[in-house]
Symmetry: C4
Subunit: 485 residues, 4 copies
């Protein structure tokens, strides 16, 4: 393959012949345009030129290889072209958003002054690009489920016990038999590179330092083996599987994962279609307005273009090919047949399905509504956990139960464990931490949680997680305040 | 009849002899003054001159013909007079409100950027005249019922089911046997011309495009046949009947409606007298103050004129002659006797009356408190639906149940259908949409709802409306947040 | 008695010899100083000079005669002195508060634009002197009871009935056998002269026009016979009795009242000691700061003077001599023994005492916590009414039940009547109305309530008060919004 | 021992040799550095110089003697050195915070204008140093428990009784047999010298004047005998014991206390480890930023120094050596064996532990979550009291029950007594009062409470505390407003 010049590439800038440059390589994506999950429009915007900056943080790195036949890999850019592009990038005017981020990063407080997870989120809100913040923070519709997930913890109070020996207090536990220093794991959270160039590896290194388990998403911005490579020798990683609708593709993914050394499969069932995340959908418009001013009325234009808006946002593209027809009867046995790994169902949202999971002999369930990013008005996971404990305590004997969504304090973790959760997952806090402070930020989050958990356990009269019992919890029949000091 | 000059008309500007010009025709309304439902005062304000601009958007177009004997139709204006008036209108100074609206219309966002019904309402709030906004948005007393209608949906959460095949998802249904692409219809909403010169026809055309049924109000600003004329060949229209207190007048209306091709009668029973809509009542004062500054204290004057305020607002006039003595025993059989159309009672507000409607063999009931515009503190329709499902599930077998009031999201629709509603009505959103973007706006609202409904159904594990079941709903015992992201 | 000069009076300005001028007459109040319910300090502030302006609006007009022996009535001022004082008043610099009130009164809206009782209160807040507003609006402690009284109505929704004949709708009722055009009466509200020079007579005249009954307070700023004189021939007045601790004084008061033609005794039992009304207590300080700037720290001074603050406010003085040892066994028979008038207990605050009142053969009870001005956290009267209806419906057969506190809308009245109240009392709204617009304002309040009551009854399916039934009410298990449109 | 010069001391300013000056005496604290509960870092900041200003208000005065062998007491400063230091202090530039406090103290209102405990807190907020306010006001995590403690009172309403004789009303009671003028005591509150140079003695003198009992904290900034010395002859003092983990040290403390004349032991069990009081932890940073501007990002530095932050705040240091392994079986008999004083368990937080305390034959329990400063989401003490009254009324017969946390009004006290509390404790209000107005402020708080309690009792129909009964309380099923008038 001969090298290509920028001029050559620039000639192919239409739907008839569409070339793009990704990391100094040239690809012919003309035939792929109609199949692009994010729509053809966004690719055509970069037709005939470099698309690396938008491609990289939101695509799994093997996306192009998987989707494009080798004949469309047109080869590398010429050395001159690479140099020219580099100069172009340097001299390009920064956007207002880039300038804002640059300045905010200079004003970040030292890590030592981050006292809790809200502090961490507040820093992240300042230093993230608008696009990254929109993707990380967005939730469905009016964001009510996202808020209610957290508010649910607000309704559960402690019946603290005194006069119990707690000078020794051990918050460690096991998850599917694997050790964890605290009953907390990293819940699958995608696209870490949007916030930090090292991406998910920050989380891997921080989790290693903090002694907890990372669940890696199918939609990570790094490949499963790149992440596994970053793990230390004794570190446990789980895999969050978005099952492809093509069973063969899905099977290959599962076998790869097991071979790479991942220790469990969390099958995602709460995100088979994209949630309505409006902040994420609006993000490009807001950036556009920031640079060029508001876009005004033109009914006809609006109507004609209606098909072009990527109404499903960033996430919509990622899951466009996932299996929307999974069933207990078909999918669990299929998965069992090809892997010895424990199987956990991620996204159970009511007692009935928890029971079905137990009957399907799953190894665990993660009560989750995807952080309020999918079905608006899905019950808060903590409320589902509480109902399960009230109505079907037997389920906790048959599989391990985890929850995620809305956890921000050590007391939140302790409440969930009291109500029967083996461990809890956190997602956004780790994305925020790695965006702001890299791996050190992730380790800091774990350190904060560990300190808060131990303090809460001691003041509750518990010296191990086994001492945390449902009768220590009282559900308030009023709505407590949420406001800060 | 000879033509009239402006000078001739101008001589008749008192209660003793009162002429007005409507659409270039002259009428003698002297004898009609005491019978005007909106009060004599407002007519006298325009005595001796052109009243078209205030007459047109708030009167059913056959109002004058129906109420005025032919002898009082004094004939057309002279051509000179028409021309003079035209010039007058052109040179007239615009009011502050007109200027505001004109500028706002230029700043409207393109339709493609309207992501949800709140976006649509926000645009409408900007571009509507003060009078139109006051009429459309006003509600009874302190507006509590209006807000509670919407807040009720906030209390109902989903017990979402996973691992169910939903790649195919069909949100269509039937209403009284007529097809509807989604379980949504346009609830009777009057005076569309206040917001857009094409009035209710915008809704008819948008409903045709979106595949849903329009219920046309007796108080529409276009006649029932004008609206029917705008419908496409296969389109279904229902009619919202405000029964006249004179049975003969009422009968003529019913027979006209059936003859025109309307497919069902929604008999309105929640608006037999005007609600206390203070925003609407205050509207003329606020406009007056906007132009001339505040009106200060004068007790005597205030006291003397007390009888002149139109305390019942725009709506009060529209329903002044409606039947306030309807009964189950008398009115339903009377209506049955003259039409084969299905009969739906619009405005049932408690379980007891739902049962009575079933016993009276009605074909359906629309649980409604008139969008919070009538009895303040009437229960939210969703709460009535929930009680009906809890206490008398048999009623759903005997007639179709619909609700309206407070619906703004696809999840709202899905909740109502889960609880037994065959379909839900929306009013204000369609008025706002047609005001801002005409028929395209109406179609957009339907498109948004359809997308939101399908997303919610899939994430809930439902592939048809039959899969939406009461057990998928859990009523929260706390008050969730209402705030946006 | 010789006339007195200003110079003569001015010599008696100490606790040793203290003269004051009231309405151009001179009194020696030296011996009375220790007995003054409001404390000696406030009198000494005006020693040796004219005290009319502070005396008049807050004392029953017979206070001096009753409390001072004839020998201390030193006779009239000389004509020169009267003239001199008049000039002094004219040339006196107005306070900032007086200037504010004067300007606000000029900006009052015409009465015709007052649509509801909140409008009326908003006008009153503008035009009342700081002292009057503080006295009228103040409530106990943190004002929670006052707010909760009104908020209680917010929790009760209507189960509205449709298809009932309501073209004829009669809201009239009887109270203790006396006719009332609507189920509303004026609850005892004191010191009307603080807001308007005509005082309680404004209410009497307005009540006459509106066809409702006025309950006159023992603490009115006009005498019972002055008020009765202002009534029309057929008008019914009730009397709110604050029983004096001296039975003989109390007996004289009762016999006077009956003789004057009052038709019932409302014995006040919820105000035997003063509530902690801090806004009222603070009022003089705030006025002082307004004129002279803030008062700064001086611990010693503060400590020494602690005894001098009138911590019980305006009301404390009024009720200082009331009977704090009334009992069912002793007080009711005593009262029965001296009057044939019906006896109503004003201030019942729980079901148990409602039952005791019935057993004591009282003619009625007024469920009231004195408008939230006495015991903070006394239950809202509407909640007590609801409990009474639920637990002891028999009580409603044995005596008439009324409530007051928090009523601002016709729907509030209708809710109370549905739950068994024969009528409801309003206090502050009438004080506000008479302060702003005199008798016309009072009539306006009644007119507004009548319109709102009739509208609510019709939309509820009721044509007489007998149709208003407990089953038409549903108590919400959530907290509805309070915000306005 | 020879006297030391400033130059001599200044040479020992490192971890290798660390001298400090406290109240003009020199100490060698080198060996003590690793054992300092507050961490070595804070001492090293003052190595080689005077540390009195930071040492004094937060250390029990015998701290140095107890912890430092005599050989490390290096003797007094030379007279020249003392003089030099004095001059230095005088010429030292005041910090922004000191200047703010100085000015605020000049603007304090006279004590006579303090009407309630909120007024007192508002003054204290103005005049306290940032550090003092942070320590006094701080609470755990997000401060929810602290707020909920107070909000709980908001949910309990009175069923007031009328027609009961209350002209005589006596609010006095006994606590463990000792007289108290009102059912209120001073709950252990530490470090009074942070707010006022006279420290806890202000409280002792104010309590004497007001006739109530003071519970003195182990962590008082004055020694137990200094406080006892300040008490009047007949005054009752209790002691709040933080049991040292070394039983011998603890025993000595108990025997000292009994010998000094304290009348009861309140064994603290709700603060065995430090709560997460972030406002207190942040306090030094905020002061630093106030003087020098914000501290910006340096990840490496942040990470290295992580061990140096005193994450447990001021309180953490105070309780670092307390016993974390107390049990009912071991600790209560141990305590009984060495003292005849009544034993009260301070910090019971659920019904189960109340029962265990009764079974362990304790004399009383103080339901408390340490003012929301320890376990976040511990139930509000009033809710625990209510549950105890509902579920185990027998416990009130077996020991005395007290509560503290959130009490700010006389009605709060009366509610707790109705529900079975023998008395209630207040902490922060007394700290605020003594900080602002010394002993006179403390007496004022008691005077306010007494007035409010008597008013509430009378309006409730109670003339002694025995008349206050559980049936006078109704728990609201809604959330009342908290807002002020």
């Amino acid at each position: 393959m001969s090298t290509k010049t920028l001029a050559q590439v620039a000639q192919h800038k239409s739907a008839d012949s569409c070339w793009v440059i990704i990391q100094n390589k040239v690809y012919d994506v003309t035939d792929f345009l109609p199949d692009h999950p994010g729509g053809a429009e966004i690719i055509l915007k970069y037709a005939g030129r470099d698309a690396t900056s938008v491609y990289e943080p939101i695509h799994p790195p093997d996306a192009l290889e998987k989707n494009l036949p080798l004949s469309k890999h047109l080869g590398p850019l010429s050395a001159d072209a690479v140099e020219a592009m580099e100069k172009q990038r340097e001299s390009a005017k920064k956007t207002q958003d880039e300038i804002r981020v640059e300045q905010a990063r200079k004003r970040m407080p030292p890590l030592i002054r981050i006292l809790n997870l809200t502090d961490m989120e507040n820093v992240a809100r300042q230093i993230l690009s608008h696009k990254a913040w929109a993707y990380y923070s967005s939730a469905s519709d009016d964001g009510i489920t996202n808020i209610e997930n957290a508010r649910a913890f607000n309704r559960f109070f402690f019946r603290a016990r005194v006069m119990r020996p707690v000078s020794k207090c051990d918050p460690s536990t096991t998850i599917l038999g694997f050790k964890s220093r605290i009953p907390v794991f990293v819940s699958g959270a995608a696209l870490a590179k949007l916030g930090h160039p090292d991406g998910e590896i920050n989380i891997t290194k921080g989790a290693s330092k903090g002694g907890i388990i990372q669940m890696v998403s199918s939609n990570a911005s790094l490949s499963p083996n790149a992440i596994m490579d970053a793990a230390d020798q004794y570190q446990t990683l789980f895999f969050q599987l978005y099952k492809h609708r093509n069973d063969e593709v899905a099977e290959k993914r599962v076998r790869d994962i097991e071979r790479l050394g991942y220790k469990a499969i969390f099958l995602t069932v709460d995100a088979i279609v994209a949630g309505n995340r409006e902040r994420d959908v609006r993000s490009p418009w807001i950036l556009e307005e920031q640079e060029n001013g508001p876009v005004y009325f033109d009914v006809l234009k609006g109507t004609e273009q209606a098909g072009e808006v990527n109404i499903f946002g960033t996430a919509g593209a990622l899951i466009a090919n996932d299996d929307r027809d999974m069933t207990w009867e078909k999918t669990i046995p299929w998965l069992r047949s090809m892997t010895k790994l424990p199987i956990v169902i991620k996204g159970v949202q009511c007692v009935e399905d928890a029971v079905l999971a137990a009957e399907a002999c799953c190894d665990g369930i993660l009560l989750s509504n995807h952080g309020g990013r999918q079905l608006e008005y899905s019950l808060p996971p903590l409320e589902v956990l509480y109902s399960l404990q009230q109505q079907r305590p037997d389920v906790f004997q048959r599989l391990e139960v985890y929850i995620d969504g809305g956890i921000r304090r050590g007391t939140d973790v302790v409440k969930a464990v009291c109500l029967g959760a083996k461990a809890v997952g956190l997602g956004r806090p780790f994305l925020y931490a790695q965006s702001a402070y890299g791996a050190a930020g992730v380790a800091k989050v774990i350190e904060i949680l560990q300190r808060e958990i131990v303090t809460a356990m001691r003041l509750l009269g518990a010296s191990t997680v086994k001492d945390l019992r449902p009768e220590m919890i009282q559900r308030a029949d009023w709505q407590p305040v949420l406001s800060k000091l």
